[in-house]
Symmetry: C2
Subunit: 345 residues, 2 copies
DNA sequence: TGGCGTGCGGTAACCGCTTTCCCGAGCTAA
DNA sequence: TTAGCTCGGGAAAGCGGTTACCGCACGCCA
């Protein structure tokens, strides 16, 4: 075992050790399947590689092959269970495909997405997945679209998770439809007077859920007063603050819909702190069915999105060759009624 | 703008466009600071790069420079809020250092860590962070240590988050001490009869928390019966199942300590399903102070670990040059008493 | 027996950068 | 005026792989 003095072991070292050329060593160790290598040479190469503890230099391979197996994943906030579940799905599927995941968390600053995307482009990723709501900002969206187009031109596959607002493969979350079904169910349960904690104004996900909810209420012949809609952060604290604002201002509702679960949990705390008994004093519903929140009391009525599956679907999408027209993968949302919204009949 | 026909724009293209050599273009665009370039040439290069929308090929740079700015992060389960919070901290700090994070989630299969580490080694990462409890399996730990040593020899910085069981930089979580303090507080609150949901037998984190808890009880003159300790998964469902097992078998306690919060939440559900009123019928305490779980009812007494800070600390550790002896960064645990453990006096 | 196809090992070009080294230009000082 | 600098541009040598291509050895068939 004649290890070179310098740091890492290269293919050349292995080839020397095995008494073959680098070409042969390469074919044995990282061969693309074409070209046979005689059995005895193969054994010698493998033995040498093992003896020297060889590990192929991925950047060098990327360069020689002209492509990597890196998948870039951009999320809004990895500490948010919504995104960490999606990330888990992406990573699970990536493993199956022998890809590795490079992750970026924009932690709210949507405009940073462009910077991260630029950095990511430098990695020459095989694919890029953008998870998280698009915004209503047209200009931003256009710039994003331009960046993504460049990535595609350079050979990367790209997919969005959220809304289909760009001509790109998308995992479509049934935000509108799910909220609509939820609203109908709540009306069926006898609720008539609603308030909505609507999240940030610019996030399409929040907007869609609000719009869908309104549509569902309309289906049931109920209207939502504008004064009963409050905007705020998409977070637990946002939910708390928004609920509190409504309580202080002029809450005239028997049922509050928070456009996601973490906000709903914040709202529940605000209601409690305000002395409202739950679930009797106020019905509360959320959206997402975050696993970690399944045990809050009262158990939360919500709309289930299979988040891991969402991540997996996105990864599978980008692993397929690009199609003529953008592919859409629609993810069903399912209403789950629990204790937080008791029937009024 | 004479864009080359082929896919991506290279530095050579930029140099041509600007009428300079690739050396000059390189110095302008990615220069390490040595070597000045005349102002007018600099402008031309920058203009050309912008016009062609040049993006440096990171693998090629990695190769030429002999190093990357990739930080590998291995976690047990990214969907677990414990790890996603740590990951958030790592990523936040990585951004400050201009590093990008490559993430792997072993989702429980501890033995996969070695495989992931091998893959990661191929990336020639600048640093590697292993987050998550080490196990009691000596053989596994030795193999892990060997792999990490190789990584270090190849120039990567390495850090562990959890226990200091390998001669490697470590962010040390005060599992034992935190649990000890918790136990003392619970005794101070008047509790005398305890049960513990101890998590998996092989995880050192779970062991340490159990051992610390026992020590704290001993400080207060209380002993923990072996029959009141039940082992199970480190998850919500594990907590539920273990609690249920104790309830069915022979629970003789007024206070249950689950070695982490998600288990505690599962335990609370199991207690409720079993008809035990909370918090009066049974006190429950957890560990970690998971943010998403701050709103469960009754609010959970727990031991706070500043998880994002843990991640940040690990990243900072690996960004520093290696020291003579392994560096340790101890993270304080702090007892937080809430409603789930009422005083008995 | 000679022509030819096939299997397979090796040589070397190339991937896109960084950086060393060379060299000419312009400046300073004797 | 010129030797000796410094400054800065460019040529070219890698970095560690992959793979097109070359050529040898062998077997087959006419």
């Amino acid at each position: 075992m004649t290890k070179r003095s310098s740091g890492t072991v290269t293919l050349m070292d292995v080839a020397h050790e095995a008494g073959v050329s680098v070409a042969t060593a390469s074919r044995v160790l990282n061969g693309s399947g074409t070209r046979q290598v005689r059995a005895d040479l193969m054994d010698r190469v493998l033995a040498a590689a093992a003896a020297l503890n060889y590990s192929a230099n991925a950047p060098a391979q990327a360069m020689a092959r002209g492509r990597t197996n890196v998948v870039g994943l951009l999320v809004h906030d990895i500490a948010d269970p919504f995104f960490s579940s999606i990330a888990a799905g992406v990573m699970r599927a990536a493993e199956r495909h022998g890809s590795i995941v490079m992750m970026y968390s924009t932690t709210g600053r949507t405009e940073r997405e462009l910077d991260y995307l630029a950095t990511l482009r430098g990695q020459r990723p095989r694919a890029v997945i953008l998870a998280g709501s698009r915004t209503a900002d047209r200009a931003l969206r256009d710039r994003l679209g331009a960046q993504l187009r460049i990535l595609e031109e350079e050979g990367a596959r790209v997919a969005l998770i959220s809304q289909h607002v760009l001509p790109i493969d998308t995992v479509l979350l049934e935000n509108r439809e799910g909220a609509r079904l939820l609203a109908r169910r709540l009306v069926e349960l006898g609720h008539r007077r609603f308030a909505v904690l609507a999240g940030p104004r610019h996030l399409l996900t929040a907007r869609d859920r609000l719009a869908g909810f309104q549509a569902g209420l309309a289906d049931g012949g109920v209207t939502l007063s504008r004064t009963q809609v409050a905007y705020g952060d998409f977070t637990r604290d946002g939910g708390y603050a928004t609920m509190r604002e409504l309580l202080v201002r002029d809450l005239r509702a028997g049922c509050v819909f928070a456009v996601n679960d973490v906000m709903a949990v914040g709202a529940i705390s605000a209601l409690r702190d305000h002395g409202v008994p739950l679930p009797g004093g106020m019905a509360v519903a959320g959206f997402d069915d975050i696993v970690t929140l399944r045990d809050v009391t009262p158990s939360l009525t919500t709309v289930r999105l299979p988040l891991e599956e969402v991540g997996t679907a996105a990864l599978e999408l980008v692993m397929q060759p690009r199609a003529e027209r953008p592919r859409l993968r629609r993810i069903r949302a399912e209403v789950v009624v629990r204790d937080s919204t008791p029937a009024l009949s």
